[in-house]
Symmetry: C2
Subunit: 327 residues, 2 copies
């Protein structure tokens, strides 16, 4: 099987493990005339606990593989996930990326992980397109919740980036929703809102969630809060945060457009580590490292697991004395 | 009429105004040979916008005056408000302060502004006591809300000081409620809670409300938040905060046990002013001032309005060149 997959991942990990163990051996050799092992020196490398595709990306990716294996006329509006490697692989398999429904003459509309506004899906169906829904199940749940809250007459507030496709899709389910990515300079709209119910983009930064929820709740008598940051994002942020607290430098791997990847870098900096965001090992720069620091590796939800190992391989190549620690 | 009252307040304010205007005249005299007024120098004094008794304290105070005017056997469990001057005045009028129901042989139980747990009121009635409820209407509303939420099977979280009588009274209406005054070291209880509904002590610090609500909401899928900080507290905190941003020193006047007064001092310090908490003008210390700073005056919800003017009088006495600004 070509491209990113569990098998490739395991092979790669095996390779890195061997190198890493050799590294450990180098550093723990007993010095002549001494019974103590030498003090640890040189680079230490550690991966964050949560790695590889999240549940939703895995599902979407598999569905896209099976759809493109069966048909030639499968279209997606925008990249199926925010990772260029995956996008390239599926592009090679014939998944066609278009800007709008008008660009799809006939065939299948593949709804990517981020979801779509219901209006777009309805339009596609009216046009006679076959619709395959590969929206992440967590996002579907938030879309349904936003719809229900809106139908109950609540003012839905979506915490997230108004330009992110997931947020646009959720907003399509709750007409008139307020989208908030940071505290607004003009508070009129949020002050006037009544019966507020808050939901969030699945990949929102947890610190931002806490801040915005606290401020909205302080302004209103009654607010309902639904923490729809997905459990994968929460776990990934937690493990990146814990690791960033321990290390000097964090390498965060993922697509430049990937919201959840960017947040991992932000959280890492907030914990005091220097963070570098790369899409793949080729973007690593040797001058970021002096060979004597501790390095943490975190990956976004749509980053194939083998990329972390490829980054470690590259570091071990530059710094042969480095020690990769497998938690 | 003796003691704190609107009339006393107005008389006192008139007195201060005259002095203050004299102060302004001193500072704005035109220097010989110049057409420009002298630059402002010397102390500037300004009162926060919200002053005097809050709505709830005013009601309780008046009810206590009328009860003690009619009867000799009126008892309160604990001071009726957290201000020693008011307590002294009502003590002189015959309001008897006891620790427990066992100390009341017969007569009237006067339920003070902070309220009481329903169990205590029931016990008093069973004992044959006459019960006069002078609970602040805002607190009564929160008690009823906590009861309803608890009966709906929600985990009620009360943000506030577990030792404050208001919080004890609210907790009595929601058996099993979690009381949280700061983020717990042991998160087990709050992590295990399901269907959380948050209410707060009426005088909670707004910053604390935002922080705790944000953290609780981040930990749970669905949380209902009721901001039961009363509107007087919110307005008082806002006006103290705005003033503290402008001045060097804040004098915050109120009872040492008064939660809302303490929070005004905390917020003032958070805004960068040096804050001094006093119960009355006698506690002012001349060495706190150099005579050339800007001074803000804020008062707690149970602080009689004339005390702010007495503090200003004392400052004008120490620093005759001072200018009192009436916003």
């Amino acid at each position: 099987m070509d491209g990113p997959s569990r098998h490739r991942d395991q092979r790669s990990e095996g390779r890195s493990l061997r190198k890493a163990r050799a590294g450990v051996m180098n550093n723990s050799t007993v010095e002549p005339g001494s019974h103590k092992p030498a003090a640890v020196k040189g680079m230490r490398i550690q991966k964050a606990r949560t790695q590889g595709f999240c549940f939703g990306v895995e599902l979407t990716y598999k569905k896209a593989l099976s759809e493109t294996a069966e048909r030639a006329d499968v279209y997606t509006m925008g990249n199926i996930v925010h990772n260029p490697l995956i996008v390239k692989e599926l592009d090679d398999k014939g998944l066609r990326n278009v800007d709008s429904l008008a660009d799809i003459p006939e065939g299948t509309l593949f709804v990517r992980a981020h979801g779509l506004p219901p209006q777009t899906i309805q339009e596609a169906e009216e046009k006679g397109l076959r619709v395959v829904d590969a929206t992440c199940p967590m996002v579907t749940r938030t879309q349904r919740l936003a719809k229900k809250l809106s139908e109950e007459g609540r003012s839905v507030v979506i915490l997230g980036d108004p330009n992110h496709p997931e947020v646009k899709g959720i907003a399509g389910h709750a007409p008139g929703a307020i989208v908030m990515n940071e505290w607004p300079e003009d508070e009129t709209e949020i002050r006037r809102a009544r019966r507020i119910a808050i939901v969030s983009q699945s990949t929102l930064n947890g610190d931002k969630f806490r801040e915005l929820v606290g401020r909205i709740a302080a302004m209103n008598y009654e607010v309902r809060v639904y923490n729809t940051i997905c459990s994968d994002t929460q776990g990934r942020q937690k493990s990146a945060r814990e690791l960033a607290r321990e290390v000097d430098v964090m390498v965060v791997i993922g697509g430049a457009k990937s919201a959840n990847t960017r947040h991992l870098a932000e959280l890492s900096e907030a914990e005091g580590a220097k963070a570098h965001l790369v899409e793949n090992p080729d973007e690593l720069k040797r001058e970021w490292f002096n060979g004597d620091e501790s390095v943490g590796i975190a990956t976004g939800a749509s980053t194939p697991g083998f990329l972390a190992d490829d980054v470690i391989d590259k570091l071990l190549n530059w710094f042969p004395e480095a020690e990769a620690v497998w938690a």
